[in-house]
Amino acid sequence: MADWVRVCPLDEIDPEDVIRFDHAGRTYAVYRAEDGTPFATDGLCTHEQVHLADGLVLGDAIECPKHNGRFNIRTGAALRAPVCVDLRTWPARVTDGHIEIEIPT
């Protein structure tokens, strides 16, 4: 069952940045794109289980801090080797100045 879960105030994440969010035994990466829109994906790289929140957001891409593989933060699509498997994405929205993501609870 999925539900909307509050992550943090919107201004806690700079545009073109990412934070780690742990909930119910899972880890997520929550982003703001350059235009401020929030997005969310699974928190670990599909290549070697590294936290993407330690990486760098470049436009619509998140770059893994370990091997520089990249995913599209909007679609989860794998963009650059050594990443081959897409990343799972989760719905995100802004409510009352806070980012919320819809995830299993």
Partner: protein, 367 residues
Amino acid sequence: MVMTAEPGGTEPGGTAPGRDYALTGRDAVRARETGLANADWYRTEIPRKTLKALMQRRDGPALRDTALWFALLGLSAWGGIAFWGTWAAVPFWLVYGVLYGSACDSRWHEAGHGTAFRTDWMNDAVYQIASFMVMRNPVSWRWSHARHHTDTIIVGRDPEIACMRPPNLWRLLLAYGGILDMIHSARVLVLNAAGHLSDAEKDYIPESEWPRAIRAARVHMAIYAATLLAAIAGQSWIPLMLIGLPRIYGAWHMVMTGLIQHCGLAENVIDHRLNSRTVYMNPVSRWIYWNMNYHVEHHMFPMVPYHALPALHAALKHDLPPANTSIWDAYAEAIPAVLRQVTDPDHAVRKPLPPTARPYKEVPGHG
């Protein structure tokens, strides 16, 4: 940098007593069982804002350096050809050789990480050109280097260990001539072009990428064949002096800087401060090497571009062992350690940390 004794990893059977460097061998199994494979490595704490600023990509520095690189390659090639047959050509070829046979390695490395330029196609273009110059399959070596960063100097996991133990001193010395490495690289390319990937390559390259690796090797071999034909048709060494041979006569700087990255330091640890070496160098070597002398910093934070490594070093050095003060100083540390490893393969240099540093992260169960 990945000056290797056996690029791409050893095969079972070619192993040292007590250590099995093969990626499909005994120590590979042991590394997985003991948690050394894909371990959680030590990282110096650094404020997110500072790190984010250091990670930022720019096109400017690499565009400037690449334009200078190609200009110097062109100029030295012109001199070598213009003065061909006279002693005046020698310094031009010496310069051309290093720019081709050594600088290609650092360009390959940085563009492969995708950090040299902000613009992706520029990284890809330089990566393809430099891969050809350094005689590395651009597909398989991308995966090999990813493994080197996951499992740095973990026996049985890292395909890019240059100083295996006990060390083969002749092999290390001969590396400076570039011939052994070139022969090995050429052999791998020929095998790849024929459709063959070794067990080690199959271990770190996803199966979906195998056809691309084979295609890339065929492209490289076609260019070398065309160069050879041009040399034969023109009854001239010049085509080979321009393409291929610089990987031998100009590789010495790559080997000189590459061997001190990890040699003499620890194996099977999970703290890059124990197995990597930061060395202060003269500006010319740093330009050829694209700042990979800040090697602990690079391994700890591989997303930081080469042009920001001096700033990263300044931010981290309170937590790192003192840097070697010169290339000479690094060799003065590494050579005695490597010589001792001939009879004591378990020996490794362990540097004291400054009082401001956090203790070394030990492998669980081995502290």
